[in-house]
């Protein structure tokens, strides 16, 4: 029993014979009335409006939005983007992708086969040894572009939710200078609240790591002047798939 917990109980005058810990826990972790109801999928008719909202938000964030009619179009545009960019560090060009059907469906490796750009995918393994981890790390550090999908896309603020897990990699959306997120529009929710409700509805099996990402990195630490591009990616693209 931690001294600190004891001190807390003493400070709160948790009385003898007062509410049991379970009862208190029930109160503390109780859900509000409007929370538990499942947040259904957004009706298809609402999507254009929400996408317009995403575009507006993205404008303020320096997030570049590409609407694609098909995976084919998306793949072509993404390949063109990769070809048009020079790396920030060094000269070698490498793209690191999450291992995910959405990304596999773009055929990037094939499209960039004839170029100097190498395309790598995060290995899906049950476990990694030290060498394998070090290798993966080196490859991410050497990548000028990281391609991920997103599990949810919040229209209100153009925010992406990236859950951690197998075949993913936290550093892919962080270390390369350019972050590309490819997201089917069916994953759009309206608000941050809706996103949290969806997460909650998954039950308590949330991964040990997840991140909400809203645009490329920025800072205003010098004279409160906004500068895009701090330590995280300095450029970010959102590709929307049907």
């Amino acid at each position: 029993m931690s001294t600190v917990i004891e001190r807390i109980r003493k400070a709160l005058h948790i009385p003898q014979g007062g509410l049991s810990e379970d009862t208190r826990a029930n109160v503390v972790f109780a859900k509000g009335a409007g929370w538990a109801a499942p947040a259904g999928d957004v009706p298809a008719g609402d999507l254009p409006g929400l996408i317009a909202q995403i575009r507006t938000e993205a404008g303020h964030l320096n997030l570049q939005v590409h609407e694609c009619a098909s995976a084919e179009q998306c793949g072509a545009e993404l390949a063109a983007l990769a070809e048009g960019r020079r790396p920030e560090w060094g000269t070698a060009r490498q793209v690191m992708c999450w291992s995910d059907p959405v990304i596999q469906g773009l055929g990037l490796e094939a499209r960039l086969a004839g170029t100097d750009i190498s395309v790598r995918t995060v290995p899906e393994r049950e476990r990694f040894d030290e060498t394998e981890r070090a290798e993966f790390r080196r490859q991410v550090v050497d990548s000028y572009m990281g391609v991920t999908t997103a599990d949810l896309l919040v229209a209100d603020t153009a925010t992406l939710l990236l859950l951690g897990g197998r075949g993913r990699g936290r550093s892919v959306s962080l270390v390369p200078s350019i972050h590309v997120a490819v997201v089917p529009v069916g994953r759009i929710v309206r608000t941050f609240r809706d996103a949290l409700r969806r997460l909650d509805a998954r039950g308590l099996g949330l991964p040990s790591n997840m991140t909400f990402i809203t645009g490329p990195s920025k800072t205003a630490d010098i004279e409160a002047t906004l500068v895009h591009g701090a330590h995280g990616p300095r450029e970010m693209h959102l590709f929307l798939l049907p």
């Binding site: 109980r9 609240r193 409160a224």
Partner: protein
């Protein structure tokens, strides 16, 4: 920590520093005075501050339950949770982790708590290079100073000063262009973040229900510091937690608006343990250090428990007329501004910090913008009462017998109209002797002389309102 004399002299210098004022005015105008507009965006129906306050109150009043749940979930994932009763204990724990891993370099995300416990100095003394990665903290660290604002640590520097600093310390050509300066820091810090063995960050809140610490940032440095090094240590005050994901809906939206005028920050990370076996990256070890360091004592006093609701957004700083004039360094403590004026005396001694309790006007601007509806003026007023009459519970000695006697005498006189009338007549006689070149009193003697340093003082009128009413309107009950 500043002594009262240091406070006075720092504040005096800063009060004349117009460049500091215009730097802080940016925080005031962009964030502070805009806060109420931003809050109305959060909820059209009910005041979101009251909801946020309810959430915080619920958690603080059940802190044992919440922390126990958080700890259990994190340890269930293979993370380590350490409850640190004191700052020294927290530092010892972090040093222990660092030593076990042979850590030579630590990268840090911004953490006011790490300032509070003196972590950097302890690491440096142990020969561990400690690099701040938040741009503002990095600047301040290169300068060898401490942060002057909870959210914008380097707000007191001009871009020219940053340019000179980077030219000197990083060997870069001088520039005062913020994007270029930021790119210099990006390059310098990337190498550090990729080679450090340990990352230390603070936390903005936590979700006890799911077992995650929530970290909010714009720069990406905290994500880097908590993803790339082998070990990630989070320092979190015991009160800075939430119970459910639903709580986060309100708290985070208020935090980012109050702190930076943003609907949401660039990154909101939920970290709840080390990487899993099948994750290709992420820290192999995760430690959450929950720090008490005086907070449970505050918890035990219902008058002050509310101060633990604070979510460290810094909004109160951005509207405090005193802070905006004297800047963060004048306070001489990690937490400055109105929140610092209450939290610091309660954790470091009310008598020792009496200047913090008394050095503001209780104008109430902080209360107006606080996203969790804290009443800091009420608590400051209570601290003043303790300084006036003492309080054994908080080890407060009465500050000044002389002032007590003066107020007691004043109250005695004010309890008797004839005594007051007599005093006024005496006063009118005495004031004839005081210099009044422009009609008002130029110099007051003794303890009141502070007023006449730069202002004249009004003389007593020839006849009080009461006297003239009695004279002209007769006796009316």
């Amino acid at each position: 920590m500043n002594s009262p004399e240091d406070y006075r002299s720092s504040a005096g210098k800063a009060a004349a520093d117009t460049r500091l004022h215009s730097a802080l005015a940016k925080m005031r105008d962009k964030v502070g005075r805009n806060a109420l507009n931003l809050y109305t965006q959060v909820d059209a129906q009910a005041d979101p501050r009251l909801k946020a306050k309810d959430v915080r109150r619920k958690v603080v009043n059940n802190l044992d339950v919440v922390l126990t749940s958080l700890a259990a979930k994190i340890t269930g994932r293979g993370g380590h949770v350490h409850f640190a009763p004191t700052d020294l204990d927290a530092v010892e724990y972090c040093l222990g982790v660092a030593r076990r891993h042979g850590v030579r370099r630590v990268v840090k995300g911004k953490s006011m708590l790490s300032e509070e416990i003196g972590l950097n100095a302890a690491f440096e003394a142990a020969g561990i290079e400690t690099v701040e990665t938040d741009l503002g903290e990095y600047i301040v660290q290169l300068k060898g100073e401490t942060p002057s604002h909870i959210i914008a640590p380097a707000i007191h520097y001009s871009r020219e000063q940053v340019g000179e600093l980077f030219a000197e310390k990083l060997g870069e050509p001088y520039t005062s262009d913020p994007p270029t300066l930021t790119a210099m820091a990006r390059k310098a810090l990337r190498e550090k973040m990729l080679t450090a063995e340990m990352g230390v960050s603070g936390g903005n809140t936590a979700c006890a229900e799911t077992g995650h610490v929530t970290i909010v940032s714009n720069e990406g440095n905290i994500r880097m510091s908590s993803t790339m090094p082998r070990v990630h240590v989070v320092l979190l005050g015991i009160e800075k937690v939430a119970a459910t994901l639903e709580d986060h809906d309100v708290l985070l939206r208020m935090l980012t608006r109050a702190a930076a005028g943003q609907k949401i920050s660039t990154y909101v990370s939920y970290v709840g343990g080390p990487r899993l076996e099948d994750e290709p990256d992420g820290p192999e070890e995760f430690h959450l250090v929950l720090v008490d360091n005086g907070r449970t004592r505050i918890l035990g006093d219902p008058d002050f428990r509310e101060v633990l609701h604070c979510i460290r957004c810094g909004c109160c700083l951005n509207v405090c007329p005193v802070y905006l004039k004297i800047g963060g360094h004048s306070y001489g403590t990690p937490y400055c501004g109105p929140i610092g004026a209450v939290f610091t005396p309660l954790t470091r001694g009310v008598n020792e910090c009496h200047h913090l309790c008394q050095g503001e006007t209780l104008c109430g601007a902080c209360k107006q913008v606080c996203p969790v509806d804290n009443d800091l003026p009420r608590m400051l007023s209570l601290l003043r009462a303790k300084l006036a009459d003492g309080d054994p519970r908080w080890n407060v000695r009465p500050q000044s017998r002389g002032t007590k006697a003066a107020f007691a005498a004043w109250a005695w006189i004010m309890s008797r109209r004839p005594a007051l009338d007599l005093l006024l007549r005496l006063g009118r006689a005495v004031q004839r002797l005081l210099p009044k070149p422009s009609g008002w009193i130029r110099r007051l003697p003794g303890p009141l002389s502070g007023w006449t340093r730069g202002r004249d003082f009004p003389p007593l009128a020839k006849e009080s309102f009461t006297e003239r009413w009695a004279r002209t309107r007769g006796r009316k009950a």
